[in-house]
Each structure stands twice: as structure tokens, then as C-alpha cells.
Amino acid sequence: MARRVLGGYALLVYGFLYLPIVVVVVYAFNAGRQVLNWEGVSTRWFGEALSDPTITEPLRNSILIGLGNAVVACVLGTALALALSRMRPLFRVPFDALAYMTLVTPEIVFGISALIFFVQIGVPLGVKTILISHVVFNTSVVMLIVRARFVGMGQTIEEASFDLGAGPWATFRQATLPRLAPAILAGGLLAFTFSFDDFITSFFVAGAGTTTLPLRIFSSLRFGVSPVVNATAVLILALTLVAIVTAYMVLRRTERGRPELG
């Protein structure tokens, strides 16, 4: 009985979680110019979004920033995870604190402090400053995912490799990377989506001349929701959904292939 009631309740909450996403997707296919005035199904707004340079240019920026950020965050985050995995707590704890701080600091505080910093040291705002700022919190994301996997899989192979005289680089290439690749890939995919979706940090460090896709959507919201905005949003959703589900599947699969941890 209680179980039934809870089940119904859960269904309701899931409905609440997905209502906005469904609404955006459904109305993106509305043929009419007025968002809420349904005039039949059409894909014309996707065509219009993809042929509008004020949308495709930010789309290009967002993808470039997302990819560059993912590569840098993967390199930094993986190296950090390897170093931290067996560091003495005395040194590890401050690192952990720093990494968690980059994730929990309210984004608006981080955004304005980064803005002040770049202006003060004279770095022109633009794609570069957005990328640098995104790498800060995404390095922490990659580190947490990679370290969880690295600690979980045990390190006897690495120890043997070091014992037999291989250096860190050779050990990484031959012993660690093959087993860690899925976690690094998942971390990279998440880093990409977090960057691709980011609004607040980008909003403050983008400067006047640079626009990313979320910034473009935000600025057009001043004139209200339009079908083109909905279509653009669906494109973003589709791209990030693919990345997220892939990351999740990759992580799940590697976990299942690891019987020693159940």
C-alpha cells in the first residue's frame, strides 16, 4: 500500500523533472510563429536556427571552447588524480579541499572574480578567457571521476611496472592508460557538457565581442521565447544528452567489468 502511494508519488516527481524538457522539445516543432499558439508540426525553425549566423557562430564557439576545455581538463585532471591517489593525507587534503571549492563556490562569485582578474592583468576577454575559466572547475570534475576509478582498480600492475624499472610515462602508457581510458573519456564528455552548457561564468568573462550558445539564448530571451530559441535549445539538449548518456554508459560498463568490486 505505502509502496503503491510512493510509486505514484515518484511518477509525479519524474513528471515534474521532465515537464520543462518535454515542453521545450514539443514547442520547438510548432509551425506557428507564436510559441504557445499551436499551428501544426514543422521542422522549419531548426532550419532557420542553423542558417542564422548569429546562432551558428556562437555554436562554433561553444563547441571549440567545450572541446579545448575537455582536452586540457583531461590532461590536468588525470595527472592530478594519479598524483593524489596515494599521496599522504597531509598533502592530499588541501588539494581535495581546493578541488571541491572550485565546484561549490557560487558561480557568480567565481565569474566576477575571474572577470576582475583578467581585466587587472590585461588579458583581453574572449574565447580564451572563457576556456581558461571553464578548465578550473572541469579539472576537478575529471580528477574526481578518474581518481575514483584509479583507486578502485588496484595498482599492483603499476607497482610491478615501476619495480621493473619503467618510468612514469612508460607505466602510464602501458599499464594505466588502457585501463583508465573509459574513465578519462567519461570525464572528458562531462567536462564538455559542463562547458557547453555553462552560462554564468561565460556571461562574465566573455567580454563584449564573444558569444556562446547559452549567452545567445539568454540575450534573445529579453524579447521573449521564440520558436527559433526553442529549436536552438533542442539542438543543445540533443548534443549534451548524447554526451551524458555516453559518459554514463561508459562508466557503467567499466564498473560491471570489475567483479572484485561487485
Binding site: 510512493l6 598533502f91 576582475i116 582578474f117 578548465v135
Partner: protein, 294 residues
């Protein structure tokens, strides 16, 4: 020989060869240069003064903080605190039963969990602005509610404080569900059954066993929701129509319109300080509760 191998193995496990610590240096440099350093400069800015339109004089005075002691700003901070507290409690009230259901009765736990994670990892901005469509008076939902007499002709939810609260609960719900689920998932439900077999009512068993064991998850979830809420920016701007100002919006205004960066930095410092105090107080309270309560 065998002994030698064994001691060697033990040594390896304790402190055997490992990746060198210098691998942490590049990220440390990145963190220091692009995270710690900006926060430090912001702290310095908060005790500086704006000169003219956009230059700043580092004259180390507390004038920005003195300016903040004003009923107007006090009201903004109280409003922000209320938003953060009510938001945290509401996500807990809505999220706890859901986490409980998934942990105890869920059939396809992986799928149910993925369904919680996906909205959280998709664009914050899109999920927020979607409510602009849903809360619009012309949205079909209100027609349906109106037909059964649950809603009037003009609902007028858009650009109100209520809209901000709806958006906030929606945005942060997954952040509460995930840690509470993680705590409940590790639970041994036979304890609850044993308590009930021994005569506890379901409610009493819940209070004495489930709740204390779920507490670490509740604490983690509350912090994950409360902290970003103290700096909430997007929901009030989009769903509140930028009419009601919270601390995050006040900071944003100083950087976007008033161009008083030192004053904006001072507000950000106050937000960070109050967050630190709140987190310390809360984790202490929670620890005491875990020790003596239940």
C-alpha cells in the same frame, strides 16, 4: 624467499612505487593562478574604492562594507537567506520520499537514477527558461486546471516570487535526491523489519532507524542545495523578471550596470563569509545530531 616476497608486498602496499607527486603541479598552478588568485584580488577589491568610471584605487578601507550596512541591503540578504532555506527544505521534502522509493522499492535503480541525473546535467539555462513557457497564462495546463475550477482566468504566475521558488526547487531537486539516495542505498532494510517485528510502529521505526542512517545524505544534499542558492542569479533574472533582487543579482548589477566593482566584490565577500559560517554551523549541528539524536 617467501618471507622476502611477502614483506616486499606489504611494503609496496603501504608505500610502494607510485606516480610522482609533481604530476599535481600543473593543476596546482592552474588552480592557484585562475581560482585562488582571482578570489584574492576580489578580496583586495572589496577594500578598495572606485575612482571615476572604471579605475580603482587600492586604499584599504572598509567603506564598501559600511555602505552595505543599510536596511535596503539587509533586506536583500534576508530575502536571499529565506530563498536558500525554503529552497533547501522544499527540495528535501520533495526529494526525500523519491530517494526513499528508489532505494527501497525501485525496480530498475540504474535507470531511475539516470533519469534523475540527466535533467541535472542538461543546460541550466534551458531548464530555467522552459518555465517561462509553462508558467505563461496561455499554457494549456492552466486551461485544463481552469476547466475543473482549480485555476482562474488569470493565473499570473510569471515574473513573481512564486515563479522564482518553483524554478529554484526544480533546478536543485536532483542535487538533494542523489546524496540522500546514496545514503539510503547502503542501508540494511532488515533492521527496519526487525524493529517492526519487535513492536515498533512503521513511523517509529522510520524515525529511529531510517532517519539517522539517512542523515549524512541529508546533510550533504542540504549543503549542495543551500550553497549555490546563496548566490542564485539566473532564476530571479529569468522567472522573476529581474524584479526581485537577491544577493547574486545585486553582485551582478555592480558588474553589469553600476560598474562599481569594489562594491560588488564586497557583496561577494559577504556571501562567501555567510556561507562559511552557515556550513560550519550546520555540519556541527548535524554531527551532534548524529551522535546524540535519533
Amino acid at each position: 624467499m617467501a618471507v622476502a616476497v611477502q614483506t616486499r608486498r606489504a611494503a609496496a602496499r603501504a608505500g610502494g612505487p607510485r606516480y610522482p607527486a609533481w604530476l599535481a603541479l600543473p593543476s596546482l598552478a592552474w588552480y592557484l593562478l585562475f581560482f585562488v588568485c582571482p578570489l584574492a584580488i576580489m578580496a583586495l577589491f572589496s577594500v578598495s574604492e572606485r575612482v571615476g568610471f572604471s579605475s580603482v584605487e587600492y586604499n584599504l578601507n572598509l567603506r564598501n562594507y559600511e555602505d552595505l550596512v543599510d536596511p535596503l541591503y539587509g533586506e536583500v540578504f534576508l530575502r536571499t537567506l529565506r530563498l536558500a532555506l525554503v529552497g533547501t527544505l522544499a527540495t528535501l521534502a520533495i526529494g526525500f520520499p523519491l530517494a526513499y522509493y528508489i532505494a527501497r522499492h525501485g525496480r530498475h535503480k540504474t535507470l531511475l537514477l539516470l533519469l534523475i541525473v540527466v535533467p541535472f546535467w542538461t543546460s541550466f539555462l534551458i531548464r530555467t527558461y522552459a518555465w517561462l513557457i509553462i508558467l505563461d497564462d496561455d499554457f494549456p495546463l492552466f486551461d485544463a486546471l481552469g476547466a475543473v475550477g482549480l485555476a482562474g482566468e488569470e493565473v499570473g504566475l510569471l515574473f513573481t516570487t512564486e515563479a522564482v521558488y518553483i524554478g529554484v526547487v526544480y533546478t536543485y531537486l536532483p542535487l538533494m535526491v542523489l546524496p540522500v539516495y546514496a545514503a539510503l542505498e547502503r542501508m540494511d532494510w532488515s533492521l527496519v523489519e526487525a524493529a517492526q517485528d519487535l513492536g515498533d510502529s512503521p513511523l517509529r521505526a522510520f524515525r529511529r532507524i531510517t532517519l539517522p542512517l539517512a542523515l549524512p545524505g541529508v546533510v550533504a544534499g542540504s549543503l549542495l542545495v543551500f550553497i549555490p542558492l546563496m548566490g542564485e542569479y539566473l532564476n530571479p533574472v529569468i522567472l522573476g523578471g529581474d524584479k526581485t533582487v537577491y544577493a547574486g543579482n545585486l553582485i551582478g548589477q555592480q558588474f553589469l550596470t553600476s560598474r562599481d566593482w569594489p562594491f560588488g566584490s564586497a557583496i561577494a565577500m559577504v556571501v562567501i563569509a555567510s556561507l562559511t559560517v552557515a556550513v560550519l554551523l550546520y555540519s556541527r549541528l548535524a554531527r551532534r545530531e548524529a551522535q546524540f539524536g535519533g
